[in-house]
């Protein structure tokens, strides 16, 4: 496997950033304590009719989809053997690892009887019959937990490289050397897992809402939901890689991999086209076309969602347009927004359990979500500063 030319960003931590984060996360910690002592009702707008709100729809479902950068790039780089994307892999993996870890945190915050969460990975053991194998949520939970582990294992080389080169502790250096050798042999099978697992759970995240049955509006309820979720998540993964790359390059004053990123956009065009084709094809064949127009405000929501997919498709379809980098960035934002809106709609907007019931997140609910994001951003910052994650000043454009 090609060795990475990644380097730690190095340098001192930005004082203002650190101070702000300490204060913000301190407040956030206090709010979390409040939530764990007094229950979920005081910090959220969740109800018995809308038991899943922003924490699930955004932090977990959308958050993990946005954290599919690692997944998307791994497919390109290792399955489709486009080695030129290799410098994008490690930063994407870090975003993914953090994104999935934060989704896990969000789940612990969201579930009511969180002290029993250990049962999910271990509760079936040794009597596997205690698991409910019928449940799509079981598959999502086990898969996500496994994937978080795989992601951090995949990032292992970054930590090992740093320890090998800079550690004063000879035992740690020895450990790092052995570790890196292990990775040389086993990386394929770890990465294969890292491609398999998201394929499974990103699609199942869509299947989850099928259990809502009639409560989910016909324009969103379809047996093809797993595939739609999978395709859109791949698109979102590429989009976030574009953004993560650009932001990191700009913030840490590194060269941006424009050529690489622009060629990613070709893939995005394919992905979006597949998504729209499947979405419309399924709706038309199952005779739901009238719903696109006679569902009142949900029709507007539907078309807005489609629009959010169509606009980036339009921007990227033309080779000249997409070569202008700002267009790439705009299309990526819109694509991420489109995928997020699709997920929000499936989980909240198009979910109508009973007449007269509504849901809107409360201030503290949104604050807690921001805290999760802030934690993720902080950890990204610290790790990228200290460990070899980002590609060096010399972009590795030679390999193909």
């Amino acid at each position: 496997m090609a060795h990475s030319h990644a380097q730690p960003v190095g340098g001192p931590l930005n004082k203002k950033f650190v101070t702000f984060m300490v204060i913000f996360l301190g407040l956030w910690g206090a709010v979390l304590l409040y939530r764990f002592i007094f229950g979920i009702g005081v910090v959220s707008g969740l109800t018995d009719y809308y038991p899943w709100g922003v924490w699930i729809a955004f932090d977990v479902v959308t958050g993990t989809a946005l954290a599919c950068g690692g997944y998307a790039v791994a497919i390109l780089c290792y399955i489709m053997n486009k080695g030129k994307y290799h410098p994008l892999v490690r930063p994407a993996l870090l975003t993914s690892a953090l994104g999935y870890s934060m989704a896990g945190l969000a789940i612990v915050i969201d579930v009511g009887r969180w002290w029993g969460v250990w049962r999910i990975p271990l509760g079936g053991f040794p009597d596997m019959g205690k698991y409910n194998w019928d449940s799509a949520l079981l598959e999502v939970a086990l898969c996500v937990m496994a994937y978080v582990g795989v992601l951090w294992i995949e990032l292992g080389p970054a930590f090992l490289e740093k320890w090998e080169s800079t550690s004063k502790n000879s035992a740690l250096v020895g450990f790092a050397k052995t570790g890196l050798k292990f990775y040389d042999k086993a990386l394929i099978w770890i990465i294969a897992l890292g491609v398999l697992l998201p394929t499974m759970h990103q699609s199942s995240l869509g299947t989850l809402m099928l259990l809502g049955g009639q409560k989910l509006h016909g324009l969103w309820y379809t047996p093809w939901i797993p595939l739609l979720y999978l395709i859109s998540c791949v698109g979102m993964g590429y989009a976030i890689v574009v953004w993560e790359s650009s932001l990191s390059s700009s913030l840490f004053k590194r060269d941006r991999e424009d050529t690489m990123l622009i060629s990613l956009s070709g893939t995005m065009v394919v992905v979006i086209s597949l998504y729209l084709a499947l979405r419309f094809g399924d709706l038309i064949i199952s005779g739901k076309m009238p719903l696109m127009f006679n569902s009142g405000w949900l029709s507007i929501v539907f078309w807005a969602e489609i629009g959010l997919f169509a606009v980036p498709l339009f921007i990227l379809a033309n080779k000249q347009r997409r070569s202008h980098f700002p267009n790439m960035l705009r299309a990526s934002i819109l694509l991420m927004l489109a995928g997020s809106v699709y997920r929000f709609n499936t989980y909240i907007t198009a979910y109508q359990p009973a007449p007269g019931q509504t849901y809107f997140p409360s201030f503290l609910e949104i604050f807690i979500t921001f805290g999760v994001i802030a934690l993720e951003v902080s950890m990204y910052y610290f790790i990228v500063k200290r460990y070899p994650i980002l590609g060096g000043a010399t972009a590795d454009a030679s390999a193909e």
Binding site: P326, Q357, T358, F360
Partner: protein, 366 residues
């Protein structure tokens, strides 16, 4: 005058040697039963009375019709005679006393000086123009009540007039009539509203105090929960008709004969807190308004009795039987907050789109 003679006649009918002990205990037990209390309580009452523990009672009359006193006459468990001769020491009562003029005022003065008495208030107290609209022996009702009630061991307001103003307080309330509690803000007053108040509720309170030295649990309007804890509607014998939708539509119609619910005739049972539906009057079963086919008009409850029109339909309590579809558990989405979130999201997306221009600069382009 005629009323007083009636009282005296009644008293004269009592046997000279008094009631024998067994009968007396029986009477007390029947009184207890009438109030839904165990027989043992009745025995306790009898024992206490025998022990000579007769609490002093000062009974004040103000803006009233004397109906509450009258209703006490219509009791037999215990009868008024037994009550005032054997169980309490009635030290002042304008209707029942043979004395008058300076003599009765002296009796009042002495009783107040002795202290430890129950002050019973019957009738509303006028407050307009310094309360001149009810004066006894040259003193206003306000004055008298402040002195007598202020020094009492307990104050009982019998009847709606004393409890919250009753009939005299009906619009336009020309005399500024109010209930006893308003004149005695610092003294807890036990209110026994009704027009008249059911005498057994009064007896229950007085006898409890006389025998056990305690007062019954009260609600936040000072009414004993045992009598005023439920609405008429919750205890009405005609309730099944209400639930099944069988209503009297006109006095004298077939439904009226069959005893249907009087809700459509303006019965205020759902809004009225009282126990008339289970504790009837005059010791005759069904001798109470609804029982004889007249809709309840809410005489016990302030804001209902003497206030709401007789034939206006009562308001059913809001949570009575909830509708099929519940309202949103958190109320409707507040447009203000939704607007803030929407704008913030829009600003974030817009900002990101605008940042693409700056972010897109630099780097290698084709």
């Amino acid at each position: 005058m005629g009323r007083r003679d009636e009282m005296l006649d009644l008293l004269a009918e009592l046997p000279d040697e008094g009631v024998d002990r067994r009968d007396f205990v029986k009477v007390c037990m029947m009184a207890a039963a009438a109030l839904g209390l165990p027989a043992a309580t009745g025995v306790k009452w009898a024992e206490a009375a025998e022990a000579g523990l007769k609490p002093s009672v000062i009974w004040l009359h103000f803006q009233e019709c004397t109906g509450c006193t009258e209703s006490l006459l219509r009791t037999s468990h215990p009868g008024l005679g037994t009550l005032i001769l054997d169980m309490i020491s009635l030290d002042y009562h304008e209707t029942l006393f043979a004395a008058a003029g300076h003599q009765i005022e002296a009796a009042l003065h002495d009783a107040v000086a002795r202290g430890g008495y129950i002050c019973v208030v019957e009738g509303a107290i006028p407050t307009k123009d310094d309360g001149i609209y009810c004066q006894i022996a040259g003193r206003t009702a306000m004055d008298i009540l402040q002195e007598v009630g202020g020094n009492a061991a307990a104050v009982i307001a019998i009847g709606s007039c004393a409890s919250w103003g009753g009939v005299p307080s009906a619009e336009p309330n020309p005399t500024g009539a109010v209930g006893a509690q308003e004149i005695l803000p610092d003294t807890p007053v036990i209110n026994l509203p009704g027009c008249p108040s059911n005498p057994y509720n009064f007896l229950g309170v007085v006898l409890q105090f006389a025998t056990m030295g305690t007062l019954p649990a009260l609600d936040d309007e000072g009414r004993p929960l045992f009598a005023y804890g439920r609405t008429i509607h919750e205890h009405c014998p005609r309730r099944a008709h209400f639930d099944a939708g069988r209503f009297v539509r006109e006095f004298g119609d077939e439904g009226h004969d069959l005893g249907y619910c009087l809700f459509a005739m303006g019965c205020k049972g759902p809004e009225t807190y009282a126990n008339c539906s289970t504790l009837h009057f005059n010791e005759v079963p069904d001798a109470w308004p609804i029982g004889i086919g007249a809709p309840c008009f809410g005489c016990t409850t302030k804001g209902v009795g003497f206030t709401k029109p007789l034939f206006q339909e009562a308001a059913l309590p809001p949570n009575y039987v909830p509708p099929i579809h519940a309202e949103s558990q958190r109320g409707p989405i507040t447009p203000g907050w939704a607007g803030v979130v929407g704008l913030a999201t829009g600003a974030a997306v817009g900002g990101a789109l605008m940042a693409t221009k700056k972010l897109g600069e630099g780097g290698t382009e084709d």
